[in-house]
C-alpha cells in the first residue's frame, strides 16, 4: 500500500434494546464521538463510508439517503457497504484500501443497526435465505447456527459446557465495557438451564437484539503522526466470500456444517500482509465476530489460534479468557452487543483501541497487535484485519 491506513478516532453509542435516540441521532452521536476522539472536526473528513446491513431491520429502505447528513457526508463522497454481519468489517476494509491507495486522506466510517424496531428478528432472517429452496423451511439465523453447533457437538469438536464457558466469558467481559448491552455474571448451570431456542442453542448461548452505532476515523500514518495522538495502524487485510446455500458448503469441507473455510482464506490473507506466521504467539488480543459461543470456538482454528480439531482446548486452558495468553473479545464481543451492521466495525474499533492502549477497563495490558474479524450471511462473508499500535 502507498500509505499506511491508521485509526485515530473511535466513537460508540451504548448498545441497548430500544435506544431512545432517533436513528439519525444515533449515527451522528457515534460520528461526533469518533471525530472528538481523533481531535478532528467534520471539515477534516474527505469521504464517508456507511455500514448497515438489512434495511428491513430499520424498516426504512435506502438508509443511506435517510442518514447522509447525520453521517456528515454533505458535500463529500459517500459509499454504503453491505455484506450482512460482515458489513462493518467490509466498510473498514474499503476505507483502509482507499486511504492505502492514496484516494482520500481521512475517512469517517460509521456502522449502524437497530435490531429492536421490528417485532420479530427471526422473521426478518427467514428472508435472507433462498426464496425458492430454503425459505419454505423457515430457516433462520438461530436454526442454521443451531445445525452447525449440533453437528460440531456430534463430531466431538466441542461440548455444551465449553459453549457455556465461552458465553460466561463474553457476558462477563462485557461487565468491563460501559457500552455493552448484556453485562452479566453467569454460571455454567445457569447457561445450561436457560430456555432452549433450537438444540443446542439456549438463551444464554445467543446474542441480544441491540440498537447502536459505531464510528472510526481513519487517515494516513503521516497525518496521524501530525495529530500527536496514539494511532492503530492497519498492517494486514484479508476478506473472502463463500457460496450462498449452506448445503453447498458441506461438500467442500471435511468437517461438514461447522467448517468455515472462508474465514481461513480471509485470515491467511491478513496474516500474509502483516507478516504473521504464528498468530497465537504474534497476536496479543482478538476481537472476533461471533454472536454464538460455538461460532467463536470453531473460529479459533480457522484463524490459526489452534490446530484443526483442537479449538475447544483453548477454552479448557483458559487461553481465551481476559487474563489468558490470547484473550478473545475482551469487550464482550457480539455475544454481549450485536447491532449487526455496526458489529464488524465495533470489532475493528475495539481492536484499534486495544492497539492504541485506550480500551479502558477492558484494555489488555501491553497489547500491541490485535486482530479484528467480521462474519456475515451465516458464515458466508468474512473480513480479518490486523491492527498495530503506531510506533
Amino acid at each position: 500500500m502507498k500509505h499506511q491506513p491508521t485509526v485515530i478516532g473511535v466513537g460508540q453509542t451504548d448498545y441497548r434494546s430500544h435506544h431512545p435516540d432517533s436513528t439519525p441521532a444515533l449515527v451522528q452521536t457515534a460520528a461526533s464521538r469518533a471525530l472528538a476522539h481523533a481531535g478532528y472536526d467534520i471539515g477534516d473528513i474527505d469521504a464517508v463510508v456507511f455500514a448497515s446491513a438489512p434495511d428491513v431491520f430499520e424498516g426504512v429502505h435506502e438508509p443511506d439517503r435517510w442518514l447522509a447528513d447525520a453521517l456528515g457526508a454533505v458535500g463529500k463522497p459517500m459509499l454504503r457497504i453491505h455484506t450482512g454481519g460482515a458489513t462493518g468489517g467490509s466498510a473498514a476494509v474499503a476505507a483502509a484500501a482507499s486511504i492505502g491507495a492514496g484516494q482520500y486522506e481521512s475517512i469517517l466510517v460509521v456502522g449502524l443497526q437497530r435490531t429492536g424496531e421490528a417485532k420479530d428478528a427471526q422473521q426478518i432472517f427467514t428472508t435472507i435465505f433462498d426464496p425458492v429452496f430454503e425459505q419454505d423451511v423457515q430457516l433462520t439465523v438461530i436454526t442454521s447456527v443451531a445445525m452447525q453447533a449440533a453437528a460440531a457437538l456430534e463430531q466431538g469438536r466441542l461440548t455444551v459446557e465449553q459453549m457455556a464457558r465461552v458465553s460466561i466469558k463474553n457476558f462477563g467481559n462485557a461487565l468491563r465495557n460501559p457500552h455493552a448491552h448484556l453485562r452479566k455474571e453467569l454460571t455454567v448451570d445457569e447457561v445450561l438451564a436457560s430456555p432452549m431456542l433450537a438444540w443446542p442453542i439456549r438463551r444464554w448461548n445467543a446474542c441480544p437484539r441491540s440498537d447502536g452505532a459505531a464510528a472510526v476515523v481513519m487517515t494516513t500514518a503521516e497525518r496521524a503522526a501530525d495529530t500527536k495522538r496514539p494511532g492503530a495502524v492497519v498492517t494486514g487485510i484479508g476478506a473472502a466470500a463463500d457460496v450462498y446455500r449452506l448445503g453447498e458448503r458441506i461438500v467442500e469441507q471435511g468437517d461438514k456444517m461447522s467448517g468455515r473455510r472462508a474465514l481461513e482464506w480471509a485470515s491467511a490473507g491478513a496474516y500474509r500482509q502483516a507478516g504473521i506466521t504464528c498468530p497465537r504467539e504474534e497476536l496479543d488480543v482478538v476481537e472476533m465476530y461471533a454472536p454464538f459461543p460455538h461460532t467463536e470456538i470453531l473460529s479459533y482454528e480457522a484463524i490459526g489460534l489452534a490446530e484443526a480439531g483442537k479449538s475447544a482446548e483453548l477454552v479448557d486452558e483458559g487461553a481465551v479468557e481476559f487474563d489468558g495468553d490470547i484473550p478473545v473479545c475482551p469487550s464482550g464481543g457480539c455475544q454481549a452487543s450485536n447491532p449487526i451492521g455496526a458489529s464488524g466495525l465495533v470489532r475493528f474499533a475495539e481492536a484499534a483501541l486495544q492497539a492504541m492502549g485506550e480500551a479502558g477497563d477492558h484494555q489488555i495490558d501491553g497489547a500491541q497487535r490485535a486482530l479484528a474479524t467480521a462474519t456475515g450471511g451465516i458464515n458466508q462473508f468474512f473480513t480479518c484485519v490486523v491492527l498495530e499500535g503506531a510506533k
Binding site: 451504548d14 419454505d136 433450537a198 448445503g247 461438500v251
Partner: protein, 166 residues
C-alpha cells in the same frame, strides 16, 4: 474515552415509537432449473445439476458451477435416500414458524454432492429436548417423502428417518 452521554436517556423506558409495517407482494422468477426440479417432484424424482467439468451434482439444481464458473445444463436424478449432514430441533417458535418442537435438517441425497434443507417428520421427541434425537445425528440415513398434491414448492417433499442400517 468520552463519557457515554446516552447512558441516562437509555434508562428511560418511555421511548416513543411509531407503528409501521412493510407488506410487499412478490412473484419470484425461479428459472429453468428450479422449474425442472419441481416438475421432477411430480414424477417422484429428485433432480440435481451436474457440472460437466467437475462432475459435482448440486441438489437443488442451479444454472452454473461456482468452482469451474461455467454454465451447467445437465439435470440428473439422484436417489430418494440420503444422509444427514446437520440437523436441529427448533424449540422456540417465531412469526411464521411451524408449531414447535420441529426438526429441520440438511441432508445429502445419494448421488448428490451438496445437501438440501427440509423438515424431518416422524422424529420421536419428548416435550423437553435435552439432546439431539439420534435419528438426526450427522451420518444417519433419511428418505424423501413426497406430498400427495404437489404445489411446486419446497413443501412438496420432506425427510423421514430410516433405521440405522438402511
Amino acid at each position: 474515552m468520552s463519557k457515554s452521554g446516552d447512558d441516562m436517556s437509555a434508562k428511560d423506558s418511555q421511548t416513543l415509537r411509531f407503528p409501521g409495517e412493510w407488506r410487499i407482494e412478490y412473484g419470484y422468477t425461479i428459472g429453468r432449473e428450479a422449474a425442472a426440479f419441481f416438475d421432477g417432484i411430480r414424477r417422484h424424482e429428485m433432480l440435481g445439476s451436474r457440472c460437466d467439468a467437475c462432475q459435482q451434482v448440486a441438489v437443488p439444481p442451479k444454472s452454473f458451477c461456482e468452482r469451474c464458473f461455467v454454465k451447467v445444463t445437465d439435470l440428473v436424478p439422484v436417489e430418494l435416500v440420503g444422509t444427514i449432514a446437520a440437523a436441529t430441533v427448533v424449540t422456540q417458535g417465531f412469526e411464521g414458524s411451524p408449531p414447535v418442537p420441529y426438526s429441520v435438517a440438511y441432508a445429502t441425497l445419494d448421488g448428490a454432492t451438496s445437501a438440501t434443507a427440509n423438515y424431518v417428520r416422524d422424529v420421536p421427541m419428548g416435550e423437553e429436548i435435552s439432546a439431539l434425537p439420534p435419528e438426526l445425528a450427522p451420518g444417519r440415513r433419511v428418505a424423501v417423502q413426497f406430498a400427495d398434491e404437489p404445489q411446486g414448492r419446497l413443501s412438496d417433499f420432506w425427510f423421514v428417518p430410516l433405521s440405522e442400517d438402511a
